[in-house]
Assembly symmetry: C2
Homo-oligomer: 252 residues x 2
Amino acid sequence: MSRSAPGSELSPVSSAAQESSGARECLHCSVRHLSVCSALSCDEVHALERITVSLPVPMGATLARSGEPRTYVYTVTEGALRLVRTLADGRRQVNGFVLPGDYLGLSGSDLHRYDIEAIADSRVCRVPTTQMRDLRQHHPHLERKLLQRACQELDAAQDNALALARLQPPERLADFLLRLAAREATLAGHSSNRVSLPMGRGDIADHLGLTMETVSRTFTKLRQQGLIALPHLNVVEILDFAELQKLANDGA
Amino acid sequence: MSRSAPGSELSPVSSAAQESSGARECLHCSVRHLSVCSALSCDEVHALERITVSLPVPMGATLARSGEPRTYVYTVTEGALRLVRTLADGRRQVNGFVLPGDYLGLSGSDLHRYDIEAIADSRVCRVPTTQMRDLRQHHPHLERKLLQRACQELDAAQDNALALARLQPPERLADFLLRLAAREATLAGHSSNRVSLPMGRGDIADHLGLTMETVSRTFTKLRQQGLIALPHLNVVEILDFAELQKLANDGA
DNA sequence: CGCTTCGTTGATGGGAATCAATAACGGTGG
DNA sequence: CCACCGTTATTGATTCCCATCAACGAAGCG
């Protein structure tokens, strides 16, 4: 129950008309991230604009709950969200963090398999699954891109499983930081030694299968070893990239 | 280094002509499992037959090694294989087990990300990735099916991650057995309380992020609790389905 | 029948979880 | 700007569970 904001339920969605400027921004996002630009005619672009809604998601808000029907797919344009699964006895797992450019909707299930919660003020593009189905049928390019993405996510999920199954806490954290850094680098287009951590320690713990205390101790250990620095609570500076990579078993 | 058979390298592939009957069987498999039957014309079926090779993989043989270029995709028709990743210091993870009906080739990487090893005498259908690419472009149905499959595997990978991150040994093993049972049920078309374990204890351990000893002890514990029986080393009989499911947290 | 491999069971130690206390941060209002 | 408060993060002490080390038992095979 961490970081639950006061009024954490989403307000009803504003209409597409009201959000037309947002919709255009979102379209841009969709086109850029799914790389289907060339496959769309002008009419199709307008069709997409009509069914696409840009939606603000304030920090702490829940975009979807586990078990609910999956009526929309999303692409994230701003902020950060977490995918959370909770067991009956309260054990929690953060399945992943969703950052700008990520697509939310690759699942074989008709129901949401996890809660989707904003860990920062965010903005997402929303498309009804039904419409998405139509879009995919008309644009093979889109389907191909989605398959590509699904395969990449599958690879990432397997890397994650390896980390959870066999890496020790410092190795897991190193792996996590390096992956965050890589994502941020591709997002920003340039590499930086600074990595921002929009999520709290508890979220990191629940993502890595550890406790918050162990995550905290591990941060301290990496700091003492001179591998990283923590200028702020939510910013990591990577001091020794090579050594960190060696610790993370080179991701392989 | 478990279960490495004496001559564990695959013999050079026999030609498609020599394996024509096998190829037909394999086609059947491909069609059935990828459900693209209706999308293929007669000519296309012949084209598929020409590029498809049914290949025996003896137990202990290695079908592919981590780091090698991915020149083929496979569907499995007989036997069982394991997907293995090994760290520099010998720590091992079994990413998954591949059973008849499974498709091997959903990856974003050009290189194999794990070793593929037969844990029983097996048979696979082999298609060059290049040809597969062509096939996909000509048959949107196929692409859609692959995306569907990728999404299902993604869901499964996430379930697995939850188990690795948060479940305790008995819960993990229960989850594992139930998933195996479910797969076997869909394969055979009917449900049975008997589940066969083609893999050894070490493989189960490396799949669940445990040691062989813990797996063995956990089997004993489940047996003593009356949840399962072990008629043979490689056969589990599920005695109390409901209780086992409760233990596995209902897979959610 | 002995060999080898694999699985089970036992004894021990280490490391992360847990419990508990302190410290740092972030926001709010004076 | 600073004092106050709730939340979050860090640090410390203890416990428990799994990995490790080691020995034993069982199964497949020549």
